[in-house]
């Protein structure tokens, strides 16, 4: 087996655009789940409205910066629509409402009657040319050793990781402010926080909307990177990967989503390359071919998620006191 190839692939994946997008989605989810205790199982819905808001606006010939704003605004609206009625329900119900809402959104943008608007099952393509015209990096290949990227990819990575840094910085400042202390109060004991005269509902709503808007940035980043969005891109499994990311990195830690996402992609891609090689060499017998590498690595993700939650629920860098794990 060629471990150096696996290492190169894994490092590429750990710093690539998808890793940045997962980190962004997880930064938003960490605010909601890690700091406020909201069980948002529909984060992918916020990515979807971000991506589609941008793609549809740009597809109608409007300038791309405006399209980005529309994408984020759509996420704010979704957060309000979801949050206003449901944040009074208990955690599990919020989970089921949000995952259902994300699925409804996916089915609706996929549906045939809306094809003229959303592209239906075909989706929308080639809407972000302007973004690549802004690329200041001279064309060529850049990188260290075997890990290289084209100027185009590097430009998206640069924007993506800058967004991760900015949003993480924002969260760092916010959770240390009085506002952030109220959020953690809600997570640890909602009734006690309410008895201090805090409007718990308003704080939860702000957390949901802000976290969702950061999620929309992740959706926009993925759609711009692919120059494409269609409904099947935004399956609910994405939300669970984002949960895996923050649980790997550490729930309720500012750096958690970033470290978690890089590790998640490093391990996922490393395992993928090694599995492909092993399967091509019929290492596991003749019944399994290289195409089985995809499912096997997702099975491993599931196993890792279970084992982490059972044996180290605070994640690699989390603190146990900041994690909702044991019954009070």
């Amino acid at each position: 087996m060629d471990f150096s190839q696996a290492l190169v692939d894994a490092v590429r994946a750990a710093v690539g655009v998808p890793a940045a997008a997962y980190a962004l989605a997880a930064v938003g989810l960490n605010l909601q789940f890690g700091y406020t205790g909201l069980l948002n199982f529909g984060q992918v819905g916020f990515l979807l409205v971000g991506a589609y808001g941008t793609a549809i606006t740009a597809d109608h010939g409007l300038p791309l910066p405006l399209a980005f704003l529309v994408g984020v605004a759509a996420a704010v609206v979704l957060g309000l629509i979801l949050g206003l009625p449901t944040l009074r329900l208990r955690a599990e119900y919020l989970a089921i409402v949000t995952i259902s809402a994300a699925e409804i959104l996916r089915l609706v943008v996929r549906s045939r009657p809306l094809e003229g608007f959303t592209g239906g099952a075909f989706g929308i393509r080639e809407f972000a040319d302007a973004f690549y015209n802004w690329n200041p990096i001279p064309s060529g290949e850049y990188g260290v050793g075997n890990v290289t990227f084209s100027d185009r990819t590097l430009w998206v990575m640069l924007v993506g990781w800058t967004l991760v840094a900015l949003t993480s910085g924002l969260i760092f400042l916010l959770v240390r402010s009085p506002w952030g202390r109220v959020l953690r109060g809600i997570r640890d004991d909602e009734n006690a926080t309410r008895s201090f005269g805090k409007n718990v509902f308003a704080f939860k709503l702000q957390s949901l909307v802000l976290g969702g808007s950061i999620g929309a940035l992740a959706g926009i980043l993925l759609a711009v990177d692919a120059q494409f969005t269609n409904a099947d891109y935004w399956q609910s499994i994405f939300t669970f990967f984002a949960f895996t990311v923050i649980i790997i990195g550490g729930v309720g830690r500012v750096i958690g989503p970033v470290v978690g996402s890089m590790l998640f992609w490093f391990l996922l891609q490393g395992a993928d390359t090694l599995l492909q090689q092993a399967l091509a060499d019929s290492f596991f017998g003749s019944k399994l071919g290289p195409t089985e590498a995809g499912p096997i690595r997702f099975a491993l993700v599931g196993l890792v998620l279970m084992l982490l939650m059972i044996f180290r629920p605070q994640g690699l860098f989390g603190s146990r006191a900041e994690t909702l794990i044991e019954e009070p």
Partner: protein, 433 residues
């Protein structure tokens, strides 16, 4: 989601008509492609076998016009586009001659037609009524409602375990869909003949699937959930563990059984029985009878037997039940075995009406949640009522709205019920958050 319901007879007929329309166009244009350089977008406009001439068709790329043409006397049209890419094709409705009508009057623009750099791309504008001698509104509604009752009963059967487990242990099990798939896959394997499996009759195979499901449920409780309960792991952590378990099981199924949909050896195709306005497949009638029988038996078990009383006692208050001499651990183990066996039965029945596939459980997971929440989490009668409501609403919605929105309707009903009556239709008030 979206493929879990057998297409309506009208829709099947429509697809057939489409296939017949495309076939001549395919034959013809393969020779035409050789004549001009570069790819082209082409098609043939036909209504019930009669060509539709003189219809104007415009092709654009983004906002750049590429070409315009009109269909000739044989209904054929062709626009050379020069290069591969994504194009929009628009049909000018005003140029359609008298006596002809688009099947879907609003579908005049195909927004993204992908053309390869070589070879022609065939696109289709269907003309005519989808089914001119279709059933009356009443017949259609009646048959949709019966289809909804069947689907709702399957969902109820599969989901009642979700509710029982939540009631006794407080776990919202996101891996329940994979337990449904498990029963169906085992039954498929035992039923498959040739090199795939032993080829036993479906009745036996289904029974094996149900028993295997029960064993898996017992094993999961003993090996995973009981130790976690002993550690007093919180609700949210348990949900995340169940998500990990779901991911794990689902992809193991995919590795072992591969991704293609399968059907059982028997009862795959049947002639429907016609009873006045109602037309029903024999297997669907059997599914309805079996589901009702099993659900009624379960209800009687819960209400009339000592075991059922103990289950309800644990649901109400595990500590109180324990101190009254109920062996809570054993009851929960029984609940897991019964729940997973019923999920497996639901999977087998679902597999007889649709395909057996690695992600069939995931596709009905949210519908099952909708059913149990609608009826009231923790109430097994609620799951039955909820399943029926969800099944009928999602099927009957197809009468007024495009079938694309069927599942969306089911989930929308769930959200609305949660907002108005969070405890569900039959739920107990105290469960509200």
């Amino acid at each position: 989601m979206g493929r879990w319901v057998r297409p309506r007879a009208g829709a099947t007929r429509f697809v057939l008509v489409l296939a017949l329309l495309v076939a001549p166009a395919l034959l013809r244009t393969s020779t035409a492609a050789a004549q001009a350089e570069g790819p082209a977008i082409t098609g043939r406009l036909v209504q019930n076998g009669k060509p539709v001439p003189g219809v104007k068709i415009t092709v654009k790329r983004g906002r750049t016009p590429i070409g315009t043409t009109t269909s000739d006397a044989t209904g054929i049209w062709r626009v050379p586009v020069g290069a591969g890419g994504t194009y929009q094709v628009t049909l000018d409705r005003k140029t359609i001659p008298k006596g002809f009508k688009l099947a879907d009057a609003d579908r005049t623009t195909l927004p993204s037609v992908v053309v390869q750099s070589e070879g022609d791309k065939f696109v289709l504008f269907p003309f005519g009524e989808a089914g001119p001698s279709g059933p009356s509104d009443f017949e259609e509604l009646l048959n949709l409602a019966v289809g909804g009752i069947k689907f709702g009963l399957i969902v109820a059967l599969a989901a009642v375990g979700l509710s029982l487990v939540f009631g006794t242990t407080g776990l919202i099990n996101f891996a329940h869909g994979e337990l449904v798939t498990f029963g169906a896959l085992i039954a498929w394997y035992v039923n498959a003949s040739g090199g795939d499996g032993p080829g036993a009759p479906l009745l036996f195979a289904g029974a094996v699937g149900v028993v295997a499901g029960g064993l898996l449920g017992g094993a999961l409780d003993l090996g995973l959930w009981r130790p976690l309960r002993r550690r007093r792991t919180g609700t949210i952590a348990l949900i995340v563990v169940s998500i990990g378990l779901a991911l794990f099981l689902r992809h193991i199924y995919l590795v072992i059984f591969k991704g293609n949909p399968r059907s059982f050896e028997q009862f795959a195709t049947q002639q429907p029985w016609t009873l006045g306005p109602l037309s029903i497949l024999p297997k669907d009638a059997v599914i309805i009878v079996v589901s009702v029988a099993v659900l009624v038996t379960l209800g009687l078990l819960l209400q009339r037997t000592k075991l059922g009383t103990a289950v309800r006692a644990v649901t109400d208050d595990p500590d109180l039940a324990e101190s009254s001499g109920v062996d809570v651990k054993r009851i929960i183990l029984m609940v897991w075995i019964v729940s997973t066996a019923l999920a497996g039965l639901g999977g087998v029945l679902l597999g007889t009406t649709e395909a057996v596939q690695w992600d069939m459980g995931l596709r009905i997971l949210l519908v099952m949640f909708a059913a149990v929440i609608l009826g009231g989490l923790g109430s097994s009668f609620g799951a039955i009522v909820g399943g029926l409501v969800i099944g009928v609403i999602s099927e009957v919605s197809a009468f007024w709205f495009p079938t694309d929105y069927k599942v969306a309707f089911a989930l929308l009903v769930l959200i609305l019920v949660l907002l108005v009556r969070p405890q569900g239709i039959l739920g107990v008030r105290e469960r509200v958050g």
